[in-house]
């Protein structure tokens, strides 16, 4: 009995506690991201934004969440019930499980696996299933068209995202996320991070992330002017809330991925005394918040892309550019290794 307790029960409890330590702050962050988005958009449009519920409108996300929970879940009679319910659950779960490999600080990570970045890429490529399943099972033409658009869009931009990730991997020499962050450390602080030497790839990655998370200006799957609300047109109450949480969770996840790959993760931008005293997770959160602000900034600035322009940008601009830059990076790295003779 004691054996069972020590071998199975105790590790299980510890793992569950660790998972909760990540998931609960994440859900709070998702709730306040909606508040942040409304405030930023309001500021961009010279409005006030939510300011009635609680001080500065800070309780608005809670009020919204409560409203969604109290509503009735309507399942269309023509819908495929199991798939219809499974789709939002899948979207939400995928946006949570990816956080297992994100290093929050040096050594602080739930699962420090060898192929961390591939795991992240795999999970983000699964995100399309939630959307396809929702679109198909709703048995509605608007939802289906939204799902088809989204599937084509996400698969297209995944290709160039993959090449960008490979470029970073070549520079870091590892698939482990902590190793990628550590390889960006140096005496020049933020000038050592990969955004500067790989600047075109950073831009390609950021734009691909916008397309991958179906954010404006690539929010065609839910283009409300032609598709009502896109793939989740038939969803209501909690099923809709799960889609919403999943989408915003994915935004935070992709911002974290951008921060780790290009903005030095938990590293301090200025690598000397007063700044290195600040714990690493503060820097990581600041970087995530900055990338999220850029997401919202783009949303407030740019109109939606036309579908053929979206495809053109993905296949005819980003794919050749990232492929060419990959070859160039590999060539430069080999040249440095050959001439310096260090084998690094």
């Amino acid at each position: 009995m004691a054996n069972l307790l020590n071998n199975y029960l105790l590790p299980l409890i510890i793992i569950v506690l660790e998972i909760l330590a990540i998931v609960v702050p994440l859900l709070v962050a998702v709730a306040y991201l909606t508040y942040f988005e409304r405030k930023v958009l309001a500021a961009a449009q010279l409005r006030k934004g939510p300011n009635v519920v609680g001080p500065f409108g800070l309780l608005q996300p809670l009020a919204d969440g409560l409203k969604l929970m109290m509503k009735e879940t309507v399942i269309p009679s023509g819908a495929n019930r199991v798939v219809f319910i499974a789709a939002p659950i899948l979207t939400f779960t995928l946006s949570l499980i990816a956080w297992a490999v994100i290093p929050i600080q040096a050594g602080v990570v739930l699962a420090d696996i060898n192929v961390g970045i591939l795991y992240l890429f795999a999970i983000s490529s699964l995100g399309v299933y939630g959307i396809i399943m929702a679109g198909w099972s709703s048995n509605s033409k608007y939802a289906f068209l939204g799902a088809l658009r989204s599937a084509a869009q996400m698969v297209s931009y995944e290709v160039s995202m993959g090449f960008v990730i490979v470029t970073v991997l070549l520079c870091a020499g590892s698939l482990n996320l902590s190793a990628i962050v550590n390889s960006q450390a140096g005496s020049y602080g933020l000038l050592n991070w990969y955004w500067l030497p790989l600047l075109p790839m950073f831009v390609v990655f950021f734009i691909s992330v916008l397309a991958e998370t179906n954010r404006s200006p690539f929010d065609l799957p839910e283009g409300e002017s032609e598709l009502v609300a896109g793939f989740f047109v038939e969803y209501s109450a909690m099923t809709f809330a799960l889609f919403f949480l999943g989408e915003y969770g994915n935004m935070i996840l992709m911002s974290a991925m951008t921060s780790i790959l290009f903005l030095g993760g938990w590293l301090s931008p200025l690598p000397f005394a007063p700044f290195t005293w600040i714990p690493g997770f503060v820097w990581l959160f600041a970087k995530i918040a900055f990338v999220l602000f850029c997401f919202l900034w783009v949303r407030a600035t740019f109109p939606r892309f036309r579908y053929d322009q979206l495809m053109r940008l993905g296949w005819k601009v980003f794919l050749p550019l990232s492929l060419g830059w990959l070859v160039l990076t590999a060539g430069v790295l080999t040249a440095i290794r050959t001439w310096s003779g260090t084998g690094g």
Partner: protein, 202 residues
């Protein structure tokens, strides 16, 4: 713990594989296929082949199965019509299945591994306790077997060009947007400022 995980993944893999061929709805079958891939990736992780597991998810689940699902959803399949011919073709199907099964048994009965295989191979398998399996695969594929790898890449390229050639049709009379001409347009090409005397027009 590992044994528990193995039985979980193995049972789910086999069960979902059975559901792939027995589900009535084709979309459900594809979803079960995806679930099957996913559990197979879990089995790879248990074997210590984490790179293969992730690539299985990225390539097969993330890309191939999406396109597959895409096609299956777009098809308008009439299930009653599909089932009509079932009994008529059943005897032929059974005969083909038995022949294939016997052939596979023969092949495996006569299969002998070359005893000198370790000396014939161009490269030894890297010691997996010293380097990660990503590095091991990389050095095997891109250093020791690079020509075989390039040749297989070329074969896939030929297949892709063939598929495009078969389905591509050049349509005439389509007005496509050419971004370069739009960007290259200058103010002088598009706008002329005309001084119009009052009351006379152009």
């Amino acid at each position: 713990m590992i044994a528990l995980a193995f039985w979980l993944f193995a049972t789910l893999t086999v069960a979902s594989a059975v559901m792939v061929i027995s589900a009535r709805n084709t979309v459900h079958s594809v979803l079960f296929l995806i679930f099957c891939f996913f559990n197979a990736a879990g089995l790879f992780v248990l074997l210590g082949a984490e790179f293969l597991a992730m690539i299985l998810v990225v390539v097969y689940v993330g890309a191939v199965a999406v396109l597959f699902l895409f096609v299956v959803m777009m098809l308008d399949i009439d299930f009653t019509e599909l089932r009509q011919g079932f009994l008529r073709y059943l005897p032929v199907g059974i005969v083909v299945g038995v022949v294939l099964c016997v052939e596979i048994v023969f092949v495996f009965k006569t299969w002998i591994l070359n005893p000198d295989m370790a000396t014939v191979a161009a490269a030894v398998t890297p010691p997996l306790d010293q380097i990660s399996n990503t590095q091991a695969l990389g050095s095997l594929i891109y250093t020791h077997y690079v020509y075989a790898f390039q040749a297989s890449g070329l074969i896939l390229l030929v297949a892709m060009i063939g598929a495009i050639m078969l389905t591509h049709r050049a349509r005439v009379g389509v007005r496509k947007q050419t971004i370069s001409t739009q960007v290259a347009r200058k103010r002088e090409d598009a706008v002329t400022v005309v001084k119009v005397p009052t009351g006379e027009g152009i």
